[in-house]
């Protein structure tokens, strides 16, 4: 590693390589803190060219490569389980171009999601995908995970907003897929790359589509005496084919945590659940959609429906939602953020099931989720120092996934498979499906050095076993 570090320094300069064990600590995991592995070496290129030169050095030595943005992932995606070198995009932070006329922007992969929004805001445009982690997560990480966010209910996940990419492959080739026109030339390599969780290569530049900011926005907060009413309201709003731009549910425990935190949004503490609804568009559209949504809410015994009076109140209501995960730190030292999708016709039934599964295992559960997309986030509070509790958390997490899949759902709506859910891939996909994924992966990375051990269960790729969390994972 020493020799490698000095070779890499020649490319990226002294500040572009981290090998001091204390400085390496943050790289031992992402947001899935229960799975940690010591990082050996981190390199921080500044440009596509530097990244490509680093990759060629690593290729010559057959070193595993783990791409890393901000490390906010929640599935262990950026955790260097097989050792090797972590390639961080933290020094690739330039917004290269914002084209207001043709409505696209070209950025380096390490640009933070919210910075992109700021860069295009003055021109009346926005980058729509808004993960709750948007203050920290990078566009490259969003691309790799095909991230979602509250407004993806209306605008769709990251993949719908990516027009082009510049990539570096495992052997240091640069592939330029950045032409921002409407359809791919040949096969849709961009569409295939988005969501590949760092296993196909490193995205160094991203061209994104920008959309006009809506002229009118209204935010409603519906307050419920139980979680069922909130879930049923969402199911009915979808069935009525109404088109708000976001539908988010927060349960009592989450509300309590938020209200005690700096994100306090004025959510009523006596509520068992709140449903945060945003409606946007032109004035008459917002008015009629809101009216119909209100009628549905009233049919589900809401205690109260509040409307944000101005932009400040809207921001406050959203700050509570977006800060909810952070606020949970008040409830327990660690949070396991599960992520599953269910058909939107079955929200109530499956949310109840998650509550039961956690109650049976004496686990504290907080639900805060993208209800409009059927994307559940049962957040289980725990303490990673308590081995038995960790075991129960993992068991509950697995059961929740099994239950959702059995009901026609899926393993992940936005956080990805990463390290965490490889074994569960077999709940959803046949050996033939997985084999096909492996064949495609091998085209991008025949040596499987890019983010090894992630996404696809190992034995599906012709290896030995489905891997539980590693023994040495602390």
């Amino acid at each position: 590693m020493k020799r490698l570090a000095s070779k890499l320094r020649e490319v990226v300069g002294a500040r572009g390589v981290i090998d001091d064990p204390t400085l390496l600590l943050p790289y031992e995991s992402d947001g899935l803190a229960m799975m940690q592995v010591d990082a050996e070496l981190v390199v921080l290129p500044r440009t596509t060219d530097e990244a490509a030169r680093c990759f060629r050095i690593l290729h010559a030595d057959k070193v595993p490569i783990v791409a890393r943005g901000a490390g906010t992932g929640l599935a262990g995606g950026a955790t260097p389980v097989e050792g090797g070198v972590v390639v961080s995009t933290a020094r690739m932070r330039d917004v290269l171009e914002v084209d207001f006329e043709d409505r696209f922007a070209r950025v380096q992969a390490g640009v933070v999601n919210v910075d992109l929004s700021h860069a295009c805001g003055q021109g009346g445009l926005m980058y729509a995908p808004d993960p709750s982690s948007q203050m920290a997560c990078t566009i490259g990480g969003n691309v790799a995970n095909n991230s979602g966010g509250p407004h993806c209910f209306k605008y769709g996940a990251t993949t719908r907003h990516i027009l082009g990419l510049v990539l570096v492959t495992h052997d240091g080739r640069v592939i330029d897929l950045s032409e921002p026109v409407v359809d791919p030339v040949g096969y849709d390599l961009v569409g295939l790359f988005v969501g590949s969780e760092g296993t196909f290569g490193l995205a160094t530049e991203v061209t994104v589509r920008l959309v006009p900011t809506p002229p009118v926005v209204e935010v409603l907060l519906a307050i419920f005496p139980d979680l069922d009413g909130a879930c049923d309201s969402v199911t009915d709003i979808i069935a009525a084919r109404l088109e708000p731009s976001a539908l988010e549910i927060l349960d009592r425990l989450t509300i309590e945590a938020v209200e005690k935190s700096v994100f306090a949004a004025g959510y009523p503490r006596e509520a068992e659940a709140v449903l945060l609804i945003e409606v946007e568009g032109v004035e008459c559209e917002v008015a009629s959609t809101t009216r119909e949504i209100r009628a549905i809410l009233e049919g589900h015994a809401t205690l109260e429906i509040r409307t944000a009076r101005d932009a400040r109140e809207r921001r406050q209501l959203w700050a509570g939602r977006k800060g909810a995960f952070g606020a949970m730190g008040r409830v327990a030292p660690d949070l396991y953020v599960a992520d599953a999708v269910v058909p939107r016709t079955k929200l109530r039934e499956l949310v109840r099931k998650t509550v039961e599964i956690c109650a049976e295992r004496d686990l504290l559960l907080a639900n805060v989720f993208h209800a409009g997309d059927g994307n559940l986030h049962p957040n289980i509070c725990y303490d990673r120092r308590d081995a038995d509790e960790v075991k129960r958390v993992l068991e509950a997490g697995h059961l929740i996934l099994e239950t959702c899949v059995a009901a026609g759902g899926s393993l992940t709506g936005e956080h990805g498979v990463g390290l965490e859910k490889r074994a569960e891939m077999e709940l959803l996909f046949t050996p033939s499906d997985l084999d096909t994924m492996c064949r495609v992966r091998d085209v991008w990375d025949p040596e499987r050095r890019m983010n090894p051990d992630k996404l696809v269960p190992l034995h599906a790729c012709g290896e030995l076993r489905t891997m539980p969390p590693r023994e040495d994972a602390r």
Partner: protein, 402 residues
């Protein structure tokens, strides 16, 4: 074609699914079930036969055979809606189902099915997705691939594989369906696909604005495009601009007002119900399937100049044109009229170094669906993907992509 192949095919599919015409036309087989599809592809693999996949042939000329096909694999019997979930806004159907049938099923439950493609009664879901085409309604709903939730396919070795699913949000596993969409039958045969649906609009209307020249109409389209309205299509045909609006009744009325405000004193004709539908279908279906055409794709800011460039080149070579332009998404379909072979050749040559992307369709001798414009590393990767999914070229007639 040897009788032994026909006999072997009849062993794996019901005998009426094998269509072997007398004479020299290529035999066709139309499997129905997954097992039949697997059996046919395994047979083709074992015998080293090159196949072409066919839906209903409406876009067959977009990617003529890269190699002569010895067997045509038809999705004609792989038909039907598998699941329509009105409460979840999703629809899953088998590849051979006509788009018009999907639209009808969706409408029954209050949903709009996108893409709204040309010739929907003859276009199959599998063919539409495999040819990477999008709908007339793309401006509002996005390209077809963005509303594709998942796919089930059969690969060249007969294995059946799925990717994605039937849910509106899902990031589990690689998005292989994004690779398969637009692969022109070269990487797989699409068996089934799931789509995200949209609310069927309460109201529809179209504003028609007539200008002296196309340039004026394109300029007007830019003004309309900057308004806070969400049309399904902004279409320029000659000097006419059509703005197709859908949605809640009050919103459509409001949007019509905004269009009037931008009209710069020009008369705005409002087309309702029947007239709107006629205009939409006429513009959507203006290109008969199989007619030679050129698809232009660029950026909105360069669109007018690019379109002029194409047409000037055509006229300089005596190739007549008729264009339906979608300026807001910077694409245009240019129908090429009758001309001599020499004129076509000169026209193609004159655009060989054109700065914008042009795709030739149903133009004899033109490289259809080609990779012109892809970097060599990207093209190499695409070739490797073909080799990985179809090492011996069983589906090698398809695509002509790489």
């Amino acid at each position: 074609m040897s009788d032994s192949l026909l006999a072997a095919l009849r062993d794996v599919v019901s005998s009426d699914a094998v269509l072997a015409d007398a004479g020299d036309s290529t035999p066709r087989v139309a499997p129905e079930t997954d097992v039949e599809w697997s059996g046919v592809l395994q047979l083709a693999l074992a015998r080293g036969i090159t196949c072409r996949v066919e839906g209903n042939g409406t876009r067959a000329g977009w990617a003529p055979d890269a190699r002569p096909a010895e067997l045509v694999l038809s999705t004609a019997r792989t038909r039907g809606v598998v699941a329509y979930e009105p409460g979840d806004g999703t629809l899953t159907a088998r590849a051979g189902t006509a788009m018009a049938e999907l639209a009808e099923v969706g409408a029954g439950g209050g949903h709009h099915v996108t893409p709204d493609v040309a010739h929907p009664t003859r276009s199959t879901l599998g063919g539409v997705l495999a040819s990477g085409c999008s709908g007339f309604d793309r401006l509002r709903y996005g390209p077809a691939r963005h509303n594709l939730l998942g796919m089930r396919v059969v690969l060249a070795d007969g294995s059946v594989a799925s990717a994605g699913g039937r849910l509106v949000k899902n990031v589990t596993g690689y998005d292989l369906h994004r690779l398969w969409a637009g692969s022109f039958g070269r990487l797989c045969v699409v068996l089934e696909a799931s789509l995200r649906l949209y609310p069927l609009p309460d109201a529809r209307a179209c504003a028609r604005l007539a200008y002296p020249t196309r340039a004026d109409a394109l300029a007007a389209a830019r003004r309309v495009g900057n308004e806070p309205i969400r049309p399904t299509a902004l279409v320029v045909h000659g000097g006419e601009l059509f703005v197709f609006l859908v949605g809640r009744t009050e919103v459509v009325e409001w949007e019509l007002e905004r269009v009037r405000d931008t009209a710069d004193g020009e008369a705005v004709e409002r087309l309702d119900a029947g007239a709107e539908r006629d205009a939409r279908e006429r513009l959507r279906d203006f290109l008969p399937s199989g007619a030679p055409s050129l698809e232009l794709a660029t950026r909105p800011s360069r669109f007018a100049a690019a379109l002029d460039g194409v047409e000037r080149a055509a006229h300089a070579c005596d190739v007549p044109t008729e264009t339906v332009a979608h300026p807001a998404i910077a694409t245009a379909t240019v129908r090429l009229g009758p001309a001599t072979e020499d004129a076509y050749t000169r026209f193609r040559d004159s655009l060989s170094n054109f700065d914008e992307r042009v795709t030739w369709r149903d133009v004899p001798g033109a490289p259809s669906a080609s990779l012109e414009g892809a970097t060599s590393d990207a093209a190499a990767l695409m070739r490797e993907l073909e080799a990985a999914l179809d090492p011996t070229g069983v589906l090698g007639a398809g695509g002509a992509r790489v």
